[in-house]
């Protein structure tokens, strides 16, 4: 310890302190600040670039998955539409069929009805015709039978005879 104290040089201590503080000040101003700033800046820019790349990658992936989703959705929609169309088609056809059947039945029924009507009308007319004709025929026969006096007297006599028989 005594040797150390003995060895201690005030002059050297003075110069060392002075020079070191000057060096510290100069380096701080002209070296450390610009160096650390430049390094920080560079590190920051590298980090930024990396972050941006990562983001772009993520965005790309997102875009891709979105595209896929879209495609999938479109496919599903298409399938749905197709399915709907098919069912609609079937429905329409079925409806049309039933309607056609119904129509046909209704037409047939009305036709049958009108035929019946016509038939009845025709029968009625025929009956009337037959009645008129029978009266005309009966008139003509009567006219012919009772055209002479003899015939009228024989007729009367036969009717009277018949009545007498009774």
């Amino acid at each position: 310890m005594e040797k150390l104290i003995n060895e201690f040089s005030v002059g050297l201590f003075f110069w060392q302190t002075l020079l070191f503080l000057v060096l510290l000040f100069l380096l701080k101003k002209y070296a450390w600040k610009p160096i650390l700033n430049a390094v920080n800046e560079r590190e920051k820019s590298i980090e930024d670039a990396l972050n941006k790349a990562e983001e772009a990658k993520k965005e790309m992936a997102e875009l891709k998955s979105a595209n896929e989703d879209l495609l999938k959705e479109a496919r599903v929609e298409r399938d749905e539409i197709l399915k709907e169309a098919r069912t609609l088609k079937d429905k329409i056809i079925a409806e049309a069929k039933t309607k056609a059947n119904e129509d046909a039945e209704r037409i047939v029924a009305s036709a049958r009805e009108s035929i019946q009507h016509e038939k009845m009308a025709a029968v009625t007319e025929l009956k009337n015709q037959v009645a008129v004709l029978s009266i005309e025929i009966a008139e003509k026969i009567l006219k012919q039978e009772l055209s002479s006096e003899a015939k009228q007297s024989s007729m009367i006599s036969s009717v009277v005879n018949e009545i007498q028989l009774n």
Partner: protein
């Protein structure tokens, strides 16, 4: 941690060197002179110096290097070059005052350079206030300038592009290391920013200084207690002045423990406040000093041994330890910064009193 290992190794070397050197009686004398010279060189290297000494040619006794300015305050400013001392052999005169270097310290003397000693062989001469640009101060200046220019260029290169220049490519991971591995885990996301400048400066300062200590220039800055004291003091001051209420509460009135314990803990915690930076100071100083001692001892051993096999082995060992020291240079900078960040983290921590 690393220091302990190195001390162990040093101890091991100290134990084996005598057994190896007593082998030959004849060369013992010569060896002793070589050994004392090496010892002197090491001691000399560990201490600060008034001139930048590179090497000495012993045959012609010429010193290669360059003098540095001496700045003294002794009732007036005295500035002169250290060459006036002629490597401590001469008395330097300045404005009518005379100065002499004795054991690496400047004393005020008379024209003949007489030093009066007390009974403990301590010099009793007056010491002027010494603000000389010593070798360590000069090194700190150079390295600070180098650090500033390097990092200034590095910072500027960001203006052109996101990618830094060549220096930046090497340094940026270290800056990020200090931020992500030292500052954020120890201080926390919320507060770390205001400490970054200090942590980075202290980290690179210690590391660069430690590395230059491993060059053949023979600089030993962080092995000076004044330098590590300065760094530890700044850490200490920043810790105290940026601390939050919780920090002081945990020192003086530890929550969640019985009241008698609070009285026991308070002085311990208070002592810890000072011990922490003190440990920082000693750790760095001891590790770097020990590293220098070990490396220089090993280099010195190359000259002690006459045996080529031993020389080869020690060359390998020296090389290996030099590489270890490169690691230690970094490790000590890291540990100092890490612990500093840890203390800062303690100062700003927000406890929810979960004790």
């Amino acid at each position: 941690m690393q220091g302990k290992k190195i001390f162990k190794l040093l101890l091991f070397l100290l134990l084996i060197t005598p057994s190896l050197t007593i082998a030959s009686e004849e060369v013992a004398k010569e060896e002793n002179s070589v050994k004392s010279e090496i010892k002197q060189d090491i001691m000399h290297h560990l201490q600060d110096a008034y001139d930048f000494h590179l090497f000495t040619d012993k045959t012609t006794n010429t010193h290669y290097g360059f003098p540095l300015p001496i700045i003294l305050w002794d009732n007036g400013l005295h500035v002169f070059m250290s060459s006036k001392f002629h490597h401590g052999e001469a008395v330097a005169e300045s404005k009518g005052n005379y100065y002499k270097i004795y054991h690496n310290k400047i004393y005020k003397t008379d024209a003949e350079g007489t030093l009066s000693m007390d009974e403990n062989h301590h010099v009793t001469n007056a010491k002027p206030l010494d603000f000389s640009i010593t070798k360590s101060v000069f090194s700190v200046m150079l390295i600070s300038l180098l650090i500033f220019l390097l990092f200034r260029g590095f910072a500027k290169s960001y203006k052109k592009s996101h990618i830094p220049n060549a220096v930046g490519k090497f340094m940026e991971p270290l800056v990020l290391f200090v931020r992500d591995e030292i500052a954020i885990p120890n201080i926390g996301e919320k507060h770390y920013k205001k400490y970054m400048s200090y942590l980075l400066t202290v980290f690179f300062f210690i590391w660069f200084i430690n590395l230059t200590g491993l060059t053949p220039l023979g600089i030993n800055v962080t092995g000076n207690i004044a330098v590590t004291f300065c760094l530890a003091l700044i850490t200490f001051l920043i810790t105290q002045f940026t601390s939050k209420k919780d920090y002081w509460k945990h020192i003086f009135w530890m929550p969640g423990v019985p009241v008698p314990m609070k009285f026991v803990l308070a002085p311990i915690e208070l002592l810890g406040v000072f011990i922490k930076p003190f440990a920082l100071m000693i750790r760095l100083y001891a590790n770097i000093s020990a590293g220098h001692i070990v490396l220089m001892s090993l280099v010195g051993l190359l000259f002690v041994f006459q045996n080529w096999f031993a020389r080869g082995a020690f060359l390998g060992l020296t090389l290996f330890l030099s590489i270890i020291e490169l690691l230690v240079a970094f490790l000590q900078a890291y540990i100092f910064t890490m612990l500093t960040a840890l203390y800062f983290g303690g100062a700003v921590a927000e406890h929810d009193d979960h004790h």
